[in-house]
């Protein structure tokens, strides 16, 4: 299982480097995620803005896992963090997640290389509102990698993410 996860993450990471130089489309719907910092591809000044459709167009994954914030396992789906990184063209080592409520948390990019970490846009197939911890939620595959089920990764699992900064 762990080897499978690592392979998956590696494949995603490889894709990141392969698709370094690309162009970003302009968001047509409501912008739900803004990416800044050390990125190559932008579509709004020095930032890269994403609407739900753009995020859906990236390589997605559905992670079904238990979390401390819900009763029982939930199905989260959204783009791989590595796919997002490829889309914005970044070699950063850290990403700082900004939540709607001004909460920020720093997450090592390596996590995204080692695990299939996604920036979930949907819960149980439905887009997430702010009330439902939307618009995006960083989800680790806790059930697939029980080692992650601890306070460190709980702290990195930021919800209501509206902006990501790579540096």
């Amino acid at each position: 299982m762990r080897i499978a996860l690592a392979l998956l993450a590696f494949a995603a990471a490889l894709a990141t480097f392969c698709a370094q130089a690309g162009t970003l489309p302009t968001p047509t719907g409501q912008v739900i995620l803004t990416v800044r910092g050390d990125i190559a591809n932008t579509n709004a000044g020095d930032a890269a803005e994403f609407d739900l459709k753009m995020l859906d167009d990236l390589t997605n994954r559905t992670t079904v896992t238990r979390t401390p914030w819900y009763d029982g396992a939930q199905s989260f789906s959204g783009p791989f963090v590595s796919a997002l990184m490829r889309a914005v063209g970044t070699h950063a080592t850290t990403m700082r997640l900004h939540a709607v409520n001004d909460y920020t948390a720093d997450v090592p990019v390596q996590d995204a290389m080692r695990y299939p970490v996604i920036l979930a846009t949907r819960i149980n197939g439905m887009p997430m509102s702010v009330r439902e911890k939307g618009p995006t939620f960083l989800i680790y595959p806790f059930d697939e990698a029980p080692d992650l089920y601890n306070e460190v990764y709980f702290g990195r699992s930021v919800w209501q993410v509206e902006a990501v900064e790579f540096f």
Partner: protein
Amino acid sequence: MPGAASGRGLRGRTLILIITLTIVSVITFVAISAMLIRLQISEARTADQVRENAVWAAYQADREAGHLVEVIMRAELNPSAQAYDEVMRRFDVLYSRADVIGEAEFSFDVVKGAVLGDASNAVRSAIKDLTPIFDHLAAHPDLRGAAMPVLLERTQVIRGLTESFVQKANAANNSFRVEERSFVRGTYATLAVSVLMLTFALLAVVGLLIAQIVHISRTGRQLEVLSERNAKAAEAAEAGTRAKSAFLASMSHEIRTPLNGIIGMAEILAETPLSETQRQQLGVIWQSGELLLDVINDVLDFSKVESGKIDICEAEFNLRELLDTVEAVMSPRAVAKGLRLSIEAPAIAITADPARLRQILVNLVGNAIKFTEQGSITVTARLEGDANLAVKVSDTGIGILEGLQSKLFKEFSQLDNSNTRRFGGTGLGLVICKRLIEAMGGTIGADSRPGEGSQFWFLLPVKNVKSAIEPAPIVETPSIFQGSILVAEDNPINQQVVSRLLERMGLSVQCVANGAEALESVSNHDFDLILMDMQMPVLDGLATTRTLRERGKGIPIVGLTANAFVSDRDACFSAGMNGFLSKPVTKSKLAAALAPWLKARSFSSETEQSSRSRMCEPDTHGIDEDYRTALIAELGDEVVERLVGELLTDGLAQLRAARRAFLESQDETCMRCLHSLKGAVQSLGFAAIGATIEAGRDVRLLDAAWFDRLETMIRAVRKEE
């Protein structure tokens, strides 16, 4: 053995202690394992229940509530669409928090669930209650400005609830931590105590083991010392036995040597002219000597039997012949007491130890004769089955009291003191018989009725039973030899006895007193045989023999010793001797020992030789002494005397017949009668008479005076003796 008992007690206590400690250790170990497992489970449960920090969640909710209050107040002060949007947004965030504190699992909700649950429910329901208002405002943005004061009031209430929730969560968290800490501390304390106990128990076990090892090594040392002491004691005992054995050997030597002199001299004395009284007295001396010899032999036999050195030499022999010899040996004694001795045995060949069987029979028959005053002694031997010889010796003697029968086969047990005085003996005979029979794998027993007689029986396993046997060829041991003998013997009496016996066997004898002299004599003269005493001063018999053998002398050497031990015999043969002879030396024993090495002289040639020599050198007595001695040794005194008596009757009758034939001119008859007479007188050693008859061979020379002279000579035979 108080020491041993206390030692056993100590060991017992130690054992109980070790068992107890082991049990304690095991229990402690199990307890520790249980505690560790419990801790592990608790840890695992804790890991399972890793939850979002409730305090953090409460704080976040409180913070969001605070923000909401703040943005509402700001919107009231500066009303704008953005400000109202911010209020709407902040409510959504707070709403998400309400979900979290409602749905999320917190690390201590198990412990403080009830208290905290109330607070969180209050927060949640307050927030949820606001939701329709905000939803309505989202649908009707124009109402937002008017709604602000109400929202502020409601939000401040929520703020109060979240503050209280934070406090409660914090308190719950603190008490949970304290409890958890005290649980862990308690568990660790118990664990520490258990480990301490286990350590103590193990230390105690180790201590006891060390004590045990020390004890064992000490015991081992004690055992070593003990076994050393035992070995010494055994050595001392063995030395004692050896000393006893040596003492016995030397005693038997010391006794046998003079006994040799007594019996030998008595034998020689018996051949000299004696009065009837003297002959009787000599008989007593001789019998006493023989009796003493028996006693010594008994003691020696017993010591051999006792030391387990019984040599069983099996050979095939004729049972009837063996019993006949026993009869021949024993019947004179029986006849002397007026008893009838009868022996019944089948003429069969069996394989067993004939010497031992003879010894046992002589012993039993001797006893029977000893204890029987009148009546008869019967020996019956028969085969029982295929491989058992059953022998019964019955007498009509005094019998044995029932109470005393069990003592029969015990050492030195004579049945009562009066008997000792009456019958004499060592009391060893039956013990020896029993031991010998047991050594041969048989059993012995006795039945007796006091006053009616006794019956001794034994059962002996025998082999190779053959019913029909060929009569054994009679090998006569010659008693007259040719040759010269060197006698090396330090005791003058023995020297004399042996040399006299040898001389009477027709041998020339030279005597020396020690081995050194013997060596000298051998280098100067040629001898046909050496009789060598084992114990001599200067150079003993064994050393002398070895020296002779080293010098390449192949001359036959026959050892002579007063010791009758097998070891002596072995020593003789290993030193290079050819034979062995135990004292006292008798003529027959000498003859048997010499026969293999010396040339025998046949009777006829001896007779002719001696008669011829007698004719040349007439003996004053007219008797060939040498021949006569040999004859007596061969046939016995009584027989020779009887024959002489017969010569007086038959010989004179023959002489009369010859004279009658001479007078009737029947020359042939006369010569035949004279020839017969000549044979008779020569056979009896009357050389002079033989020579006279020989001289009258020519019938023309005969006259009445010759016949008269011959008759006078024959009648003088008795006086001449």
